[in-house]
Symmetry: D2
Amino acid sequence: MTKIKVGIVGYGTIGKRIADAVRLQNDMELVGVTARSYNYRMISADLKKIPMYEWPEADDLNGLKMTGTFDDLLKNVDIIVDCSPKKGGAENKEKYYVPNKVKAIFQGGEKPNVGEVSFVAQCNYDDAVGRDYVRVVSCNTTGLCRTLNSIKSKYGIEAVHATMIRRGADPWDIRHGPINAVVPVLELPSHHGPDVQTVLKDMPIFTTALSVSSTLMHMHTVTVDCKEKPDVDEVLKLFGKTTRVRVVDNASMVRSTAEIMEFAIDSGRNRSDMPEIVVWKEAVGTTGHKLLYMQAIHQESDVVCENIDAIRAMTGFKDGKKSIEMTNKALDIV
Amino acid sequence: MTKIKVGIVGYGTIGKRIADAVRLQNDMELVGVTARSYNYRMISADLKKIPMYEWPEADDLNGLKMTGTFDDLLKNVDIIVDCSPKKGGAENKEKYYVPNKVKAIFQGGEKPNVGEVSFVAQCNYDDAVGRDYVRVVSCNTTGLCRTLNSIKSKYGIEAVHATMIRRGADPWDIRHGPINAVVPVLELPSHHGPDVQTVLKDMPIFTTALSVSSTLMHMHTVTVDCKEKPDVDEVLKLFGKTTRVRVVDNASMVRSTAEIMEFAIDSGRNRSDMPEIVVWKEAVGTTGHKLLYMQAIHQESDVVCENIDAIRAMTGFKDGKKSIEMTNKALDIV
Amino acid sequence: MTKIKVGIVGYGTIGKRIADAVRLQNDMELVGVTARSYNYRMISADLKKIPMYEWPEADDLNGLKMTGTFDDLLKNVDIIVDCSPKKGGAENKEKYYVPNKVKAIFQGGEKPNVGEVSFVAQCNYDDAVGRDYVRVVSCNTTGLCRTLNSIKSKYGIEAVHATMIRRGADPWDIRHGPINAVVPVLELPSHHGPDVQTVLKDMPIFTTALSVSSTLMHMHTVTVDCKEKPDVDEVLKLFGKTTRVRVVDNASMVRSTAEIMEFAIDSGRNRSDMPEIVVWKEAVGTTGHKLLYMQAIHQESDVVCENIDAIRAMTGFKDGKKSIEMTNKALDIV
Amino acid sequence: MTKIKVGIVGYGTIGKRIADAVRLQNDMELVGVTARSYNYRMISADLKKIPMYEWPEADDLNGLKMTGTFDDLLKNVDIIVDCSPKKGGAENKEKYYVPNKVKAIFQGGEKPNVGEVSFVAQCNYDDAVGRDYVRVVSCNTTGLCRTLNSIKSKYGIEAVHATMIRRGADPWDIRHGPINAVVPVLELPSHHGPDVQTVLKDMPIFTTALSVSSTLMHMHTVTVDCKEKPDVDEVLKLFGKTTRVRVVDNASMVRSTAEIMEFAIDSGRNRSDMPEIVVWKEAVGTTGHKLLYMQAIHQESDVVCENIDAIRAMTGFKDGKKSIEMTNKALDIV
């Protein structure tokens, strides 16, 4: 079998994880990643013997050995996964991917129109099959889509109101706060609602958001007005069998985002990640036709498997269910 | 005019603030506060020349000068404001207040049945007039009651769903976390909903809660299904004229709980408190008959004025509106 | 008596406090403060009826009433206290103060050469008498100078090694981190040591620094190689009688920076500040000729009284001891 | 070769890591771990097929499959590594290990006299050879011993003064604070100095300590009065070749404890741990005979390799250098 040749632009929080994930797929080959500056991430890539290609405007790379230039990378791949910081993807698309006729995946920091499709594998895999440009939505949007798509299929949805309690900064990010405050997004609705609608077209969702002093995970509190009356046990079963969603409970002492991350460490997962959306058994409730639940999102990892599925879809693999299975198996995802 | 003689049991976060507030009322006299152990709070009370009465099971008071014993205090007051830690109030009621026939106010950490009435002045002042035992509800419940009571009067309420993002510990409390986590309350509904119903009897409210790594304020995100269609500008006007509620905006750079507290400091308020419930102009929105808003609650101070009004009501002052005006003026509350 | 006419440039963390302090001095008059943009700080100034003068490049002031322009302010003052953000003071000096022949005080964020003297009142008041440009050193430097000057006078000093554990951001600052990290200053010595030497010329001091996730106070651990053998009780007495230094102890439950700030709130101080350097009784120790102690510095307020004394010195008041007494009395400083 | 049969009591932060480490040694066999209550840690052990033995006073284990009782475990091992919470080790020694004549290793939370020797492999491996009871010292003490032992061997040491800036709680621990404070240990010296002396007998060390709002690592600032004049480059070389010590630098963007932990994640280490003591190149300095440096300690993992070496020493493996090499290789330690 010829493997899909993948190149990664941007070796940061998401890029480095997708690099690992590509290397774990039987049907993919990681051609290489771009190097833009010298830092511990690149040193780690070097230790893992990941080929590096010099970015056009790279800083001093301090002697890191390059396999080639970015042009070389573009020539040797079937698809690029662009993990540039916000707006970088759209710039690279015009400057590099369109002129060189290279397929590309973008991340959720880009505007929706960067891609032909905004993508969450278990919601709209088919839409991405054969496409040239696809946008994997943000971690928060991915998390909302996974559980809402499942609820909709079972009960129908009249309306959704969700609050995102966002981690203030990633674990490695020492510059951003808040240190001791809760910071509301002073805009209603927050951008998350409209972003969900780029995947689940007609989802009637309204979101609010705020940031807190934590680095670990986002937390969502979700209220769904269902068309049919939901039942707690049934919903728990539904989530239990929804791929990339995991139900935890108080009995196992997973009582917080910190303990979710510790459970991921204990489970021996790559980079101690928790790519599944985590729902608490005790935090699912109903009142009439309303369903309420809380879910936690590991902002660094939940979109990684989405990128892997997008690679397959865009390069012609038509069976979404099968792709998800392959990805999950390779990445040890429930 | 004979002043109402007030004694305070428990000189902690709430007790010390009520002591200050009583001293600022023209119609009240602070007879004294109880001393249970030696610490910087008692040293400060001493500096302010607040009379101290020795608690029956006091620790070594390290030479602090006592005006008398707790028995002396009980004999010299018209009413006690009990600010004991959770459950201490109920114990003191049976042990001291009932046998000595002393009126007493309890705080929201006690169960509702400790009082004949659960109290928020602008919602149910009249119910407390002449009572012997009244419970001022918790900071979160007080905050919900103030705004919901106002919304209900204007639009009617079908249902309320609220999420409390709670500060993990008070500013002075170095023992409690979380340091880096979001901790959901694994119980639906959280106790806040039922507690609101002790004041606003038929309010159809459902609440969820979680704790974050901040010491400053609680934050609520509230969704109200109104009977009549709400309008954002109208709601802002409504909140603007609701007592003990304050509207802030992004234009004045009050973008977080931290900046609310700084605004309180800049305003020169006693103890740098913000007793009003704070709503953000930009975080009020509607979708159909649904009204959404975010509010911040200063957990250390919003109930202080409620205790003052409860003192008046219980000792026979019948005009609730007038009491609120007197309290607000003395405490510089909007 | 003619009062000293004071203008303040920059109404931020330090400027607003100096404005308050000037208004509390019998021999000073606050002519006004500059307004550069609309925010809650200016709203508070307006509420306090502090005259505002429009800064040359001001943003939209949203209807705040101005008493005049910055030029008007310059013409009506004996001295300006410049509290601009870092480097702004030096720019203003060349652009406004030198051409208009106005005396000016600068803050510790400026380079030492902005002033003729770097200033800590109890260390070198005399050097500032009659000067045109004086720099009040930073909060950390001020804290080190106060205690080291006292130790030097009693025991002589061979060498000082100090570590500054710095608060990551001010309480109102929601943008800066770290949220969950300790961040060392990767430079030895940190700039604090040389800065102490701008006041205590021959102090042999070496400093290291790091930032932590707290907003409240800086903490210093200090090791002093004394010329004469120090004694713990004697040192505590020495600190006890050193102005603007305060000794606290574990017995009074002041066990952390958080409890120091709560003690300041309880003490009813303006803005809940703690302008004294705080030393823990239990954290003073000796080993041979070495003296060790920990001290906490309230970064927002310790330099305020220094600015007041600098105003007096520069406008011709020669008695430093008397000035410190006047300032302390007006500001309720120990 | 007969493998050393190891049992682990207490499957918490340290115990679970030692279990992993034992399983990676060619000369050891993990007989099993004790189960005391049901939680995500035990679920993870189950997923890893680690045999579990029921602790005498176990809570409801919720159906976890036990291989046997604690008695069975005791009968089948050559040595127990006791990772009980503080003081539990000493109790278990008297109750179980002495009566059953089982060798046992204890952790640093126990008092020194629980063991015949307090142990850091690269400092005093030989002392533990053939012993029945050994105490591996705490994470902080281990960190100090590793670097100080190396400095002493090269320059000799007159005196050491160190400040421990401790993480307030482990990453999974949501109960402990502080959320927003710096908390000094109000005791001089802190217990760390005397604890170092249980390993490096005559080390003249004096320590102070404080806690901060971080979960990631402890940070030490160390000042060493050397007998011979130290040189920065030479010290960096020395640390570079000292086992279980790692030098990082600003150039590679490892500027904080957060970035150290991210580097560990990127390096693909088990549980994303950093068992080496980390020294910053830019934070090593000298002034005369004084050497200053900062080091970071990963509290959850640095003692794991020490326990492995202690197992070998106590069961008769005499070559300390060889044991350290074996351990390092198996655990991918520098």
